[in-house]
């Protein structure tokens, strides 16, 4: 099982760029439930990877593994060439893995921004405070500097007029845009989107997708788990179809219109 899901094969351009995210034989089990059964994936910097698949295929779990919200059971994930979650140590004359501590995990997470299906905004803070929170308390940025940054990020997602609103006073689409601004304020190299439009009313999906499209145009490295086939076709550099804990098919966005695997064909028929 050495499916290397990649469209950018750098060598022939004579340029060895390091992958932004590289997954090698990733396994994940919850108790006796084997969710991921050997995922290989390479995401190059500045590209958009869209992961498609039916519910329960393990695509969200894979995204959560990258950000260490879950712990790997087997295999390896590298972000910017650095192994995440563990470090190699000498133990009784053998090289073994040791779990990273809180601080080391936080440092690795700083490269990644994440957007959740249910937004997960902090309800006791206004939009502005939500975005300022991490720059002030994690990066120890000054309040006024953080405020400027937060205002700029909120303007970027079209919410410059909503600074002092609480999440409960915003629509779902607006809340998700605040969540995107909150992640961007930490200046991540890679953005992870976990079904960012699945909890939205149909008429609010467009505003979130347009912000994501704008981010992709600016060259952000993105991994997006979604059911929005249209978005995948337009924006993705790489499309990965997962089912039953394995990568069934991968390739450029053209595979959406010309799928090879019957399971992918079947899935597309149901979604489109």
């Amino acid at each position: 099982m050495s499916e290397q899901a990649t469209t950018q094969t750098a060598p022939q351009q004579g340029q060895h760029t390091m992958p932004a995210v590289e997954a090698i034989g990733v396994h994940k089990a919850f108790g006796r439930l084997h969710v991921l059964k050997g995922i290989d994936m390479t995401v190059m910097p500045g590209t958009v990877t869209v992961i498609l698949g039916p519910s329960g295929s393990g695509k969200s779990t894979f995204l959560r593994l990258i950000n260490q919200l879950e712990t790997l059971t087997g295999g390896e994930i590298r972000v910017d060439g650095e192994m995440i979650g563990f470090k190699k140590v000498e133990h009784k004359g053998q090289e073994v893995l040791q779990t990273l501590n809180d601080k080391e995990i936080a440092a690795q997470r700083s490269k990644l921004g994440m957007v959740f299906q249910r937004f997960n905004l902090f309800p006791h803070m206004t939009a502005l405070e939500n975005v300022m929170e991490a720059p002030v308390h994690v990066k120890h940025m000054g309040k006024s500097e953080a405020r400027e940054l937060a205002v700029a990020e909120l303007q970027r997602v079209g919410l410059g007029q909503r600074l002092d609103y609480y999440p409960s006073q915003l629509s779902g689409g607006q809340q998700q845009r605040v969540a995107i601004a909150r992640a961007l304020a930490m200046k991540p190299e890679i953005m992870l989107f976990d079904e960012p439009t699945s909890a939205l009313d149909p008429e609010l999906v467009g505003e979130v997708l347009s912000v994501m499209r704008q981010l992709a145009d600016e060259g952000m490295t993105m991994i997006v788990v979604t059911h929005e086939i249209g978005f995948a076709r337009e924006v993705a550099d790489q499309v990965v179809f997962m089912d039953g804990g394995v990568v069934v098919e991968h390739g450029g966005p053209e595979i959406i219109d010309h799928p090879n695997e019957p399971r992918f064909k079947d899935f597309l028929q149901h979604v489109l």
Binding site: A106, A107, H124, H137, R162, Q174
Partner: protein, 329 residues
């Protein structure tokens, strides 16, 4: 409180309906019955000579009574503050990844919740007899870094608030734990994804949201504590309100009027505590259950920018007020 709003006020609605309200006799009948009962009660209270209101009035602001109120308040405040701090620590320990901390917290709660507060107060009163010297050293050796006579630290007053605080902390920590567990786990995930550390997440994200759930029962506990302070005669500490009024009653052979004096003061202080509680609820309720106003204005830049006017801000502020009234009721 704001006056009742009429739906669609100021809007041009054709054929607006101006209907009379439903005729209901129930509230009128109930009102009359309650008014009669209240009048009977008032008559009984005022005209029954055995209540001896002249004596109530005479002792209401008695020097010993006022001193008793002072000590009651002091005991309530000190023991609640200590209990709240301790209970948050206990609740966080209970949810710790460290099994030793979890065990200590479990044992503390088990012990102090499982024995009567009266017994605990007696124990604290006897502390300096049981343990004449407090010292810090290595157990089962003669090594001692520091030691002091217990009786200088565990005075009657200190024994009283220590006893009350430790007992209360055990109860409160369960309330705090319930509050912490009520916060959506997605909040922790989002905070982690932003690079926040465990302690920071607890302080900035989880606790402020848990407070909203913790405060009403804590207000309850505070009011309970106000009255539990009367048990400190077990220590014995004999300067608080209940003991002070009882002492006067025994001296002048008038138990009823002095019970009334105590009741009046307890009710008065409870009322003040209720006001403080509703203020706190309002503070920690920020951002919750605020009515969505997005449908009624158009400040979204994606649809073209519109400045948020003063009236809209007022409307948001009012929305925030409205939801609190329900909570206080």
């Amino acid at each position: 409180m704001a006056k009742k709003q009429v739906d669609g006020e100021g809007l041009d609605i054709p054929d607006r309906i101006h209907a009379l309200p439903v005729r209901r006799t129930g509230p009128v009948v109930a009102g009359v019955i309650v008014a009669l009962l209240a009048a009977m009660l008032a008559q009984g209270l005022v005209t029954n000579p055995r209540f001896e209101w002249n004596i109530v009035w005479k002792y209401l602001f008695n020097e010993n009574v006022l001193e008793g109120i002072g000590y009651t308040l002091l005991l309530t405040v000190i023991s609640m503050v200590v209990a709240i701090i301790l209970s948050v620590i206990l609740a966080i320990m209970r949810k710790s990844i460290n099994p030793v901390l979890r065990g200590v917290s479990w044992f503390f709660i088990w012990f102090f919740r499982g024995t009567p507060v009266y017994t605990q107060l007696v124990f604290w009163g006897l502390f300096s007899v049981l343990v004449p010297k407090l010292s810090l050293g290595i157990p089962f050796t003669s090594v001692s870094f520091w030691s002091i006579d217990s009786s200088t630290i565990i005075t009657a007053f200190n024994a009283a608030w220590i006893g009350l605080a430790l007992n209360e902390a055990a109860y409160l920590s369960e309330i705090v734990r319930a509050g912490l567990e009520a916060v959506d786990p997605g909040q922790t995930e989002a905070a982690k994804a932003l690079g926040m550390k465990r302690s920071l997440i607890m302080r900035r994200i989880i606790l402020p949201q848990a407070m909203r759930i913790i405060i009403p029962p804590t207000g309850n506990e505070t009011i309970g504590m106000l009255k539990t302070t009367s048990l400190v005669l077990a220590v014995p500490f004999t300067l608080e309100l209940q003991f002070a009024t009882n002492a006067i009653a025994n001296r002048i052979y008038k138990p009823i009027p002095l019970l009334l004096v105590a009741c009046i003061w307890y009710l008065f202080i409870t009322s003040i505590l209720m006001v403080i509680q509703s203020r706190l609820e309002k503070h920690f309720g920020k951002g919750f259950e605020a009515r969505s106003i997005v449908t009624e204005d158009n400040g979204d830049e994606l649809d073209g920018p519109v400045a948020v006017s003063e009236t809209k801000k007022d409307r948001i502020a009012r929305g925030n007020n409205v939801k609190m009234i329900g909570l206080n009721a």
